[in-house]
C-alpha cells in the first residue's frame, strides 16, 4: 500500500513466487497456449534441451503488473508498462518481484521493476508509469 508522499528510491512491496506445474497448467489453459515447453517435460528436456518446464514470459510480466496494482491500491492508474524476459525461468525456481520509484513529476510516477531468481539473476526486467489520483 502506498505512503502519503512518494519519493524516488521508494521500494515497492515485492512478492515471492514458486510457480508449480498446477499454476503453469492453469495459466496456459487460461491463455490458450498449447506450447509443449510449459507442460510436456520429456519433450522440453529432450527436444528443447531445457532442464525443466518453462515459466511463461508473459506470466512474469503479469506478476510485475500485480506488484504495481497492489502498490497503487486503487489510488492511481497504470498508463504505461514495458517488460522484457532476460533469461529462462523454470518450475522449481524461486522468483521474487522487486520495484522502485525512479521518478516523480507531479502526479506522474515512474517505476523500475524486475524479477530476480534464487541465484540473484534478473529473469525479467520492466518499467511502468502511473498517474496518482489527486484524492490520495
Amino acid at each position: 500500500m502506498m505512503k502519503k508522499r512518494i519519493e524516488a528510491g521508494e521500494k515497492l512491496t515485492g512478492r515471492t513466487w514458486h510457480a508449480d506445474t498446477v499454476q503453469l497448467f492453469l495459466y496456459n489453459a487460461a491463455i490458450w497456449n498449447p506450447h509443449r515447453i510449459h507442460y510436456d517435460l520429456p519433450y522440453t528436456q529432450e527436444a528443447e534441451g531445457h532442464p525443466q518446464l518453462l515459466i511463461d514470459g508473459p506470466l512474469q510480466g503479469d506478476w510485475l503488473t500485480q506488484m504495481v496494482y497492489e502498490w497503487l491500491g486503487g489510488n492511481g492508474t497504470l498508463t504505461a508498462f514495458a517488460y522484457s524476459n532476460r533469461r529462462a525461468a523454470y518450475v522449481g525456481d524461486v522468483l521474487s518481484t522487486t520495484g522502485e520509484v525512479t521518478g516523480v513529476d507531479g502526479d506522474i510516477v515512474t517505476l523500475d521493476l524486475r524479477i530476480i531468481n534464487q541465484r540473484g539473476e534478473a529473469t525479467t526486467v520492466g518499467s511502468a508509469t502511473v498517474v496518482i489520483e489527486p484524492s490520495r
Partner: protein
Amino acid sequence: MTVLTEELKNHVGAELPPFEFEISRGDLKKYAVATGQRLERYLSGDEAPLLYLFAAMMPVVPLDRLLPDGRQPDSGLMPPLPLNRIMAGGSEYQIHRKVYAGDTLVCRQKFVEVFEKTGAEGPLLFLVFENRFETRDGEPVVTERLTRIAR
C-alpha cells in the same frame, strides 16, 4: 554480412485484417486465479489485468493444425526469415483506458519495424509488431509494441 534483406524491409507496414473479441467475466476469473491475483476487482472478473490481452492474441485453431511443438502456426504477419530461432523480446504498452468484463475490443496487428544488431553469436534481427486494441467505435484502449528477436 547483413541478414536484413530488401524483402524483409518491404514487409514493414504489412497488416492483418482486424479481429474482434469479447472480454468475458468467466475467462477473467480463471485468468485471475491462474496468475495469482489478490485484488478483488480482478478475482471477481470485473476488470481485466493488462497482460490478459496476451490471451486475446492466442489464435484458436483446430488440433490438426498445431505444430509438432504444440504451438499454433505463426500469423501471416511474420515475414519469411533468414534466421530460424525466434525469441520473445518483450512488450511495451500504452494504456489509454481500462478493460472491463463485457467489453468488445477490436485488435489491429501491424508489422512496423525491422532492424539488425550484431550479437555475440552472430546477427540478430529485431522484428517489431504493433497491436492496437480499440473499441468498436475506434476509441484507443491499449497500444502494444511487441518485439521478437530472430537469431
